[in-house]
């Protein structure tokens, strides 16, 4: 009696005759579509949906004129970010992730990585107190209380860390906490390549220098 289902199948196929091929196509088409869609969705798994393109990538740092945290009278502009491969770290005292990443910035600075700090939409006194109590990993402390330079740079949330080449071009941006994992996997390769290429990545001339 276990043959019954097969028997009915045979009757069915006998009955529909040559239309079997078409029927099969009709059944298989949704399957193919579903598998295709599944593949597309599968490739998106693990991608960070909050990751945005960096609009300023391979562009020069936008022009700015800011004071430094230590000297309200100082006038610092974009030329201060040229001449050497370095990091630009956007931070603020109101930003919890900035506190989390601070020890790692200290470690990088002690290893000889040049980091410029951009204090973003903050208060001078609070920022200075933070630096004196937690240590200052920055070779230069830019002070941007209104976030004007940050806005031109495309900063949408602290902390953000940019890799700037010797010509003052943005070569990489990381949004969020900079820690050892992120440094090793994403930022350091770009940084090292720039150092070795004396400020030039193979195959990508800075746009404005042609």
């Amino acid at each position: 009696m276990h043959l019954v289902p097969r028997c009915y199948l045979e009757i069915f196929f006998e009955f529909v005759g040559c239309r079997v091929i078409n029927k099969r196509l009709v059944y298989i088409t949704p399957l193919i579509l579903a598998v295709g869609l599944g593949f597309i969705l599968y490739t998106a798994i693990g991608k960070d949906p909050s990751h945005l393109e960096t609009a300023r990538l391979d562009d020069p740092i936008p022009a700015f004129s800011l004071s430094s945290l230590q000297d309200a009278q100082a006038k610092v502009d974009q030329t201060a970010l040229q001449g050497q491969v370095r990091l630009l770290n956007v931070w603020a005292t109101w930003c919890p992730s900035c506190r989390t990443e601070h020890p790692y910035l200290m470690e990088l600075a002690s290893k000889g990585v040049d980091i410029v700090g951009l204090n973003y939409k903050d208060e001078r006194d609070k920022a200075l107190a933070w630096l004196s109590s937690l240590g200052n990993p920055y070779s230069l402390d830019l002070y941007d209380p209104q976030g004007r330079f940050g806005f031109d740079l495309g900063v949408y949330g602290a902390p953000e860390t940019y890799v700037i080449d010797a010509q003052g071009f943005v070569r990489y941006r990381h949004v969020g906490e900079l820690n050892e994992r992120v440094w090793k996997a994403q930022v350091e390769p770009v940084y090292r390549a720039l150092l070795q290429g004396s400020g030039k990545l193979q195959g990508s001339e800075p746009r404005g220098l042609k």
Partner: protein, 190 residues
């Protein structure tokens, strides 16, 4: 008695009216809050500028919160963007110029209405291509159906004999099929 009824009717209609007014008021409030939120008590030199500003704040997307326009978002960056849009519009920049300004800083992501570029051709024209394919397929299928109906018509008129032969063959065929099926059914029935 009639007077009492009249008073009662009046009072209920007044109550209805109050309820109605309150209800409509709530509706208006509910729909207007998002507009109020986006205005931020900003001053405009002209009504056109206000309209351009409102359009822009609904078209520009907050980079931090992702699924909100900047009119709708309370994120600090959305407020900065609203302030900047206001400044630029009052400065005489056009809608397109402000959108370009924001894209320059925050990328194509920032607009809910992507520009037409080679990267967005699929996005803009893909649906139309699909609709075109659908219409084409529907058209071809209907054509084929028509052609078949026409063929049947012709054959029934012009080739009566041939057709009767054919149908005889067909009915023969059907007979053999039927007997085959009966055979199979019998075979497995017990």
């Amino acid at each position: 008695v009639s007077q009492l009824a009249l008073i009662r009717a009046k009072s209920t209609s007044v109550a209805d009216l109050i309820v109605g007014v309150v209800f409509i008021g709530l509706l208006v409030l509910g729909s207007a809050t998002s507009v109020f939120a986006s205005i931020d008590a900003k001053e405009f030199s002209s009504e056109e500028n206000r309209i351009v500003y409102l359009d822009l704040t609904r078209e520009l997307r907050c980079p931090k919160c992702q699924n909100q326009d900047i009119a709708d978002s309370n994120a600090p960056i959305a407020k900065d963007m609203r302030d900047q849009v206001h400044l630029l519009v009052e400065d005489g920049r056009t809608h397109e110029q402000v959108v370009a300004y924001m894209i320059e800083r925050f990328g194509e992501f920032v607009t809910y209405k992507p520009r037409v570029t080679t990267e967005t051709y699929l996005l803009w024209y893909g649906p139309w291509v699909l609709i075109g394919i659908g219409v084409l397929v529907a058209f071809l299928l209907s054509q084929r159906k028509n052609a078949r109906a026409l063929n049947l018509d012709k054959s029934s008129q012009a080739h009566d004999e041939a057709k009767s032969n054919e149908s005889a063959v067909n009915s023969d065929d059907r007979e053999t099929k039927r007997s085959k099926i009966a055979e199979l059914v019998n075979k497995y029935d017990d």
